[in-house]
């Protein structure tokens, strides 16, 4: 009698069989129809931050000037602006890949290849920063940013090159903010001394090229 009871106990009923089959089927179907993202991040956001903080990946004006006047097979310009803007004017030998098309299949090879370094530019410096960060996070390392962006380069390098042209620094404080505040407040200077002496209200023009150009990204 015990034997029979045990057999019933350990038997697998039809209901269970159906249930488990449905369960497994749901999982398999889910796997088949799961939306698969096309792109994957290759580096974490922490690694990206470390990369940003190390300040490489920017091509300074000296190199740009060189490249504009004697093209080098190791570099190519990528213009991230829209097609009409590109047509209005662009750096020589640029490839136009508007920002919202950088994932297009036809350009994948450009990001992937390692023979030529891509120099990204947008109308301003910050505009190229985002795409550069995305490409970096996807693991495409062979990209750099043109310091200053197209408008800056066009104004200061192509139209009239001057020794100051390399001084583009978006993140450099142009003014001593606290000094301005205290001066316009009509009282004594409350800003910490020392720094306040160096720079005035007027934009600093005496900036020199300080070694490597830094502009972030």
């Amino acid at each position: 009698m015990d034997q029979i009871e045990e057999k019933e106990q350990s038997a697998i009923s039809k209901t269970l069989l159906t249930g488990i089959s449905i369960f497994a089927a749901i999982i398999f179907l889910g796997m088949v129809f799961m939306p698969k993202p096309q792109k994957h991040y290759k580096i974490t956001e922490e690694q990206m931050l470390a990369k940003i903080m190390s300040f490489d990946g920017v091509v300074g004006p000296e190199t740009i000037v060189d490249l504009i006047y004697k093209p080098n097979a190791q570099f190519q310009f990528i213009d991230l602006r829209s097609a009409p803007e590109f047509l209005k004017g662009h750096l020589p030998n640029s490839i136009n890949i508007p920002v919202n098309h950088i994932f297009d299949k036809e350009y994948e090879q450009i990001w992937k290849q390692i023979d030529k370094t891509n120099i990204l530019y947008y109308s301003d410096h910050a505009g190229a920063c985002g795409p550069w960060m995305i490409l970096n996070q996807l693991g495409y390392k062979n990209n750099k940013i043109m310091l200053g962006g197209y408008e800056y380069v066009n104004e200061n390098i192509i139209k009239k090159y001057s020794p100051l042209s390399g001084s583009f620094r978006d993140e450099k404080a142009k003014y001593d903010f606290s000094k301005i505040i205290s001066e316009t407040s009509g009282g004594k200077v409350t800003a910490p001394a020392g720094e306040g002496e160096k720079t005035g209200i007027t934009p600093v023009v005496k900036k020199k090229k300080e070694g490597k150009s830094s502009g972030g990204c």
């Binding site: 106990q9 009923s13 209901t15 269970l16 249930g19 488990i20 369960f23």
Partner: protein, 177 residues
């Protein structure tokens, strides 16, 4: 014809386990937590103690940790779950015709001894469940389902401990023919 009077057979254990697993997944899916039982007891004890002796309950670190901020300790997920649990067990008992005032005991043992043992076991399990942060369902079942370390440790400790002590209690539960 006497078979009709007999209570229904128990569910196939694999089927029951499978359904229990689905219930667990539902709990994860809706509330992000597994099943449990002893948490409700802790909440109830805390509620009773803070109702009877509020000053005493405030002093104790233990009661403070179970007392919700502002709300009653009874207003917790596990308390509602255990209310449902009792209700569900009652429904099942009615359907299967198993509702009966009864004491489950080995034949040779008197009811009195069995009840004393049950009470003592309850005390031990109560202390253990509080110390171990969960009982068989809360720590063991749920803990193993989400593959937490605590779940595996608790499971091994519970079943290992019970197996260990079962040797000493064999005279109580088992009568060799």
């Amino acid at each position: 014809m006497e078979k009709i009077q007999e209570p229904k057979k128990y569910m196939n254990p694999y089927l029951a386990g499978f359904l229990l697993g689905l219930t667990m997944i539902a709990a994860f899916y809706f509330s992000g937590r597994g099943l449990g039982a002893s948490g409700a007891i802790k909440s109830t004890v805390t509620a009773v103690v803070s109702a009877v002796a509020p000053a005493h309950a405030d002093k104790s670190e233990f009661y403070a940790s179970y007392k919700g901020e502002g709300s009653s300790p009874m207003n917790s997920w596990l308390v509602y779950e255990m209310l449902g649990f009792i209700f569900g067990a009652l429904i099942s008992g009615i359907i299967a015709g198993r509702i009966k005032k009864d004491i489950v005991k080995p034949p040779k043992i008197t009811s009195r001894t069995r009840l004393i043992m049950a009470g003592l076991g309850g005390v031990a399990a109560g202390i253990g469940a509080t110390l171990g942060r969960g009982c068989t369902s809360g720590a063991g079942l749920t803990g193993m389902s989400n593959l937490s370390l605590a779940g595996f440790i608790s499971f091994m400790a519970m079943f290992g401990g019970a197996f260990m002590f079962s040797f000493f209690l064999r005279k109580f539960w088992i009568n060799k023919a």
